[in-house]
Symmetry: C2
Subunit: 401 residues, 2 copies
């Protein structure tokens, strides 16, 4: 039976007319085979950045509603151009803004959440055999104001449409799929043919760039298989799907790294007082990004608190805490956070010990460790991270060879 | 009493952030005086042209619906940027697309006609003391598709909004107002402090560029006074108003010229047969622009038909008529059409004779003449046009001195 297919193409995939034509030609083949096609398109190349720059040239903090009004034009340009290409080739297509596609969001400008999609118009156009081209990343509030969905928003549009249309969702990007490790950091990284929603969410959260967490989460909630493929070749490398449908549960599926992290240790914090709260309150007011947090057991009523933060935030952190001089502050910069993620960890003990063994063999010490149900993260020196990635990849089959 | 003021700014008036800020500062003064302000804004500078070029790079004839979807983004960018400026200065403003402003049009893409405006949202925002900024040139069909209004469309948006809000309408442009003669063609041209809708329509129709005919017509129908001013200085030079409210009815209000016109005479056309029809049908199918038409009285059952056309169309015209060789074709290129317009002509005889006298004194012959109720147009050689403009300007007080 012929299917409805939702395909999403990101900004680099539509950055010029030539690339658009390449996509159009591939879609035409699918259409000619009888499939119903819904495309979700991002703004061309760096368009969104340029529009934001225009607004920032006026003021550092442009009004959020107006910023959404401004940047939503980027996708409107790309969907209309793609529809012009289809029409010029004699194919019946129609481009739709978020509003026209029935995408209703919360009124959180710059980070709208899809509240509902009135899918009736898209269904009608599909019945009329039109190729439907939806502007990604945008919607409209109940009041009729334009919103954008925030980072990775076009993915969310695509997954949400696929959920409503009960179709599969194909996300095309400039890589072949999801790799166990970022190929820029480890060239032999294995391309994963499948990964569970949970693992993908954890990897996204830990810094893997291909998919934003929100769209994966939506895929999980509505059980939409997400196919990740290369926009140039059209080849699907990875399918994100339900844990139960994985062919094989790997202990470790992927590894994410984050370089240039700083480890900050605050010593002699008073235990059982508002001291910890006060510190974190100051950090929060100062908009310091805090990631991993750990604390030592109290000795003589005092504890040490360690936290990791992007190196960029270290100066602000010092300045925020400068009025709080009862404590000593130790800062280690140039650290890397390495996280291993795998749904198999839930059932399988001994992952941590296998990892600790690798550290031991390499003579590398980690500065901090935290765990979640399906991940373990370490903070190590930047220079130690490369050999660690190599050894972890070998030990857990994350490599090609 | 404080008024609602609708102000329209064209593309050159908002071509960069500096010019936008200039406008915003002037509007703020009016707002601080207690007026309610609705701005209608065109796309920045050459934006629309650039967007059309992108579409034309795909195909010579881009789909019209999709083209409107594309080019309507131009105004959306400018209204949001202007609103960001107001907000950055602490003024409460809101930008609206054609759809959000309630502008419903016919579904004639690229030349939509405003069918109705649901003004309730704008009124609500004005009551909330917001400065309302509407994207010109665009609307939406009953079906929710985006349309543009064609040339001069932002003027039409402004006049239509002023009609609905029962307010005055100020059109700001890069000249001081309406001149009796295009100052580029006659430097001493008089700035007209007032002109009737009918005269303005006739002048627009005859090639005067400042206002498009449709918006003036709408002003006339809804009796909206249209103030024309300079976007840089803010000074209003001309008011377009009802004939009955003119301070003074001039015999001749203005003069419009069109250079590089060709006069084509087709001789020996059979009278009382389908001959004329066939010729004009061929010209129409060939999309030849025909302006003035005249024919001689029949002699021996034959007539001569003369018509004027842009010189650019002459080659196409010859090729269209080449299969129709029973007639002779005489072509005079490098001609100028001079038209004088004045509502006073209706009551005042002798305008034509005064004009003929000027021709006679200068020893200039015209090739063709046509008249309407409030205008007379002549075709003359390009080189004769300059002295004629000079003398007509003097004779009918169209000059500054």
């Amino acid at each position: 039976m012929k299917k409805i297919i939702v395909q999403k193409y990101g900004g680099t995939s539509v950055e010029n007319i030539k690339k658009m034509k390449n996509i159009v030609n591939r879609v035409i083949k699918l259409y000619d085979e009888g499939h119903s096609i819904v495309l979700v398109i991002s703004a061309m190349g760096k368009t969104t950045d340029h529009l934001v720059e225009m607004a920032k040239a006026i003021t550092e903090n442009p009004d959020k509603r107006e910023l959404d009004m401004l940047i939503s034009t980027g996708e409107q340009v790309s969907v209309s151009l793609i529809s012009i290409i289809f029409k010029s080739l004699g194919y019946d297509s129609i481009s739709l803004t978020g509003y026209q596609a029935g995408i209703v969001t919360s009124s959180d400008y710059n980070k709208g959440k899809i509240a509902d999609i009135d899918i009736s118009k898209i269904k009608k156009y599909l019945q009329e055999k039109k190729i439907v081209i939806v502007a990604g990343f945008q919607g409209i509030t109940e009041n009729g104001d334009i919103t954008t969905l925030g980072r990775g928003g076009s993915d969310t549009t695509a997954v949400a449409l696929a959920a409503k249309l009960q179709s599969i969702c194909e996300i095309y990007t400039d890589v072949d799929g999801i790799y166990a490790i970022d190929p820029k950091k480890y060239k032999n990284a294995q391309l994963l043919s499948e990964i569970s929603y949970e693992e993908m969410m954890e990897l996204s959260n830990l810094g893997a760039k291909v998919m934003e967490m929100r769209s994966v989460e939506m895929g999980k909630i509505f059980n939409v298989p997400i196919h990740i493929g290369n926009s140039v070749t059209g080849i699907i490398g990875t399918i994100i799907k339900d844990e139960d449908q994985l062919m094989e549960k790997k202990i470790i599926t992927g590894l994410a790294t984050e370089h240039n992290v700083a480890m900050v240790t605050i010593s002699d914090v008073l235990y059982q007082s508002g001291d910890i709260y006060k510190i974190f309150n100051l950090l929060s007011e100062g908009e310091i990004n805090i990631d991993m947090i750990s604390q030592t057991a109290p000795i003589d009523g005092k504890i040490n608190v360690s936290l990791s933060t992007p190196s960029l935030d270290v100066d602000s952190l010092k300045s925020v805490l400068k009025d709080y001089h009862t404590h000593k502050l130790y800062v280690d910069e140039n650290m890397t956070k390495i996280s291993v993620v795998g749904i198999g960890m839930i059932d399988q003990s001994g992952v941590a010990s296998k990892l600790f063994n690798i550290f031991d063999n390499l003579g590398i010490h980690f500065k901090q460790v935290t765990t979640s149900e399906i991940s373990i993260s370490f903070i190590v020196n930047n220079e130690d991270s490369y050999s660690l990635i190599e050894e972890i990849a070998k030990a857990f089959n994350l490599s090609n060879n």
